[in-house]
Subunit: 222 residues, 2 copies
DNA sequence: GAAATTTTGGAGTGTCAACTCCATTTTGGC
DNA sequence: GCCAAAATGGAGTTGACACTCCAAAATTTC
């Protein structure tokens, strides 16, 4: 039987990583830096080689930390993976944050589309979506992580929906148009487009998917 | 240095698995059955647990074969993975074959959409797309497998495009409509929808993605 | 039916990766 | 500066997993 305090320890570490903490297991400034270095290294490796294709030892090397250091901050590989999921969620959504505010106009939507396609080109179509890749690899393996990823996609979806709802609220969309459903379709086309981009090594599918949905939104203009 | 005859042996086995062969390393009827049992077992396990999450030993157990048997038919795990990719391609495209012929009408497209959504519901939204999952996990790992998967998606895309092109050829679509691009967008929405379905455990995103593209096609009717 | 070839059984083997342990150094609060 | 807690070093342990080896049984071919 698993001892309860073990779970408790894990939770404390997770809590320690997030917000304020004055109890035991708090992180010093140096500790936070080390932890952040580990997560960033793990995220990069897992993006390029997959979660299963990335060993804890690989992460140690890349982050220049010893085994005891890594296991000081993460009780097990799963905890590190969970941290990577949270990290990539912030990275991906954070990078789009400046564009999210303008998704209530066709121009803003187009700019967002262009930025995404441009980014994939710069990456030479390698790696797909950091969140999508994690979702595909981990969804059937770890229920807690799957829920986290669902939450991440939920945030993404809502950011898009907020823009479309604003357009609808201003009466710019036909009454029949469903902003929430369009947002979900846009996210689906984006994710599928990114996967196909990764496999085909060109951005045609990504551009086609996004453009068709945007064209449909344009056709819904009042 | 790798000996050349080693590659030759691998190639022979791969050839032996496909078509006619009278040379050495040909497969007996029983041998073909065993090989097929191994591939089917591997495909099922890898669909549920991922490629990396499936050990050769797991496959042995599920297929009821010994280690020497498995390595008699597949020189290494990579060869087994390649066989699984080919197998799933045939499974997925084969299952849709009856519906592909009718993709030249809105009713046919709708029936195809309904069948896909229904299948995900029956699977309780678990597992995503067998080809898409493999693509996500293997694209950055194995260039040869990535090319195979690109080919598989190419076949899928062409089956859809054939239907839309037929509609266009009959003059049912507006002159400006681009059947190939619509097909690619439909495939992207499908793949993204399947991924989101897997993560969210509901078919909303899949239905929304496909429906928006189909609505756009409907709007393109002449 | 005998020889050649394929198929199968099952016990290894070596490597690698996750995780542990304990001693030592560094840091932060008072 | 002192003490407690946090951070670090690095060798070690354990188990899993990909892959090997050799001999025996079954099957095909002539």
């Amino acid at each position: 039987m698993e001892p309860f305090f073990f779970c408790y320890t894990v939770d404390m570490k997770n809590i320690a990583s997030n917000g304020a903490n004055n109890g035991p297991n708090r992180l010093t400034k140096k500790g936070k830096e080390t932890r952040a270095r580990i997560v960033a290294a793990a995220a990069e490796l897992m993006f390029g080689n997959g979660v299963a294709g990335t060993s804890v030892e690989d992460v140690q090397r890349k982050a220049s930390v010893s085994a005891s250091q890594l296991y000081h901050y993460f009780s097990e590989k799963r905890a590190l993976i969970a941290a990577v999921v949270a990290y990539q969620t912030e990275q991906v959504l954070g990078a789009q944050e400046p564009l999210f505010g303008r998704l209530d106009t066709l121009e803003g939507l187009q700019a967002w589309r262009d930025a995404i396609v441009q980014l994939q080109l710069e990456r030479q179509c390698q790696g797909g979506c950091p969140i999508g890749s994690l979702a595909s690899e981990l969804s059937e393996t770890d229920a807690a992580v799957r829920a986290e990823l669902a939450e991440a996609f939920g945030r993404w979806e809502h950011a898009i929906a907020a823009g479309l709802r604003a357009m609808a609220a201003r009466g710019e969309l036909r009454p029949g148009a469903n902003p929430d459903r369009l947002a979900l379709a846009l996210l689906a086309a984006l994710q599928g487009g990114l996967l196909l981009t990764q496999v085909r090594r060109d951005t045609e599918a990504l551009a086609a998917g996004l453009d068709v949905i945007l064209a449909h939104i344009r056709a819904q203009l009042a």
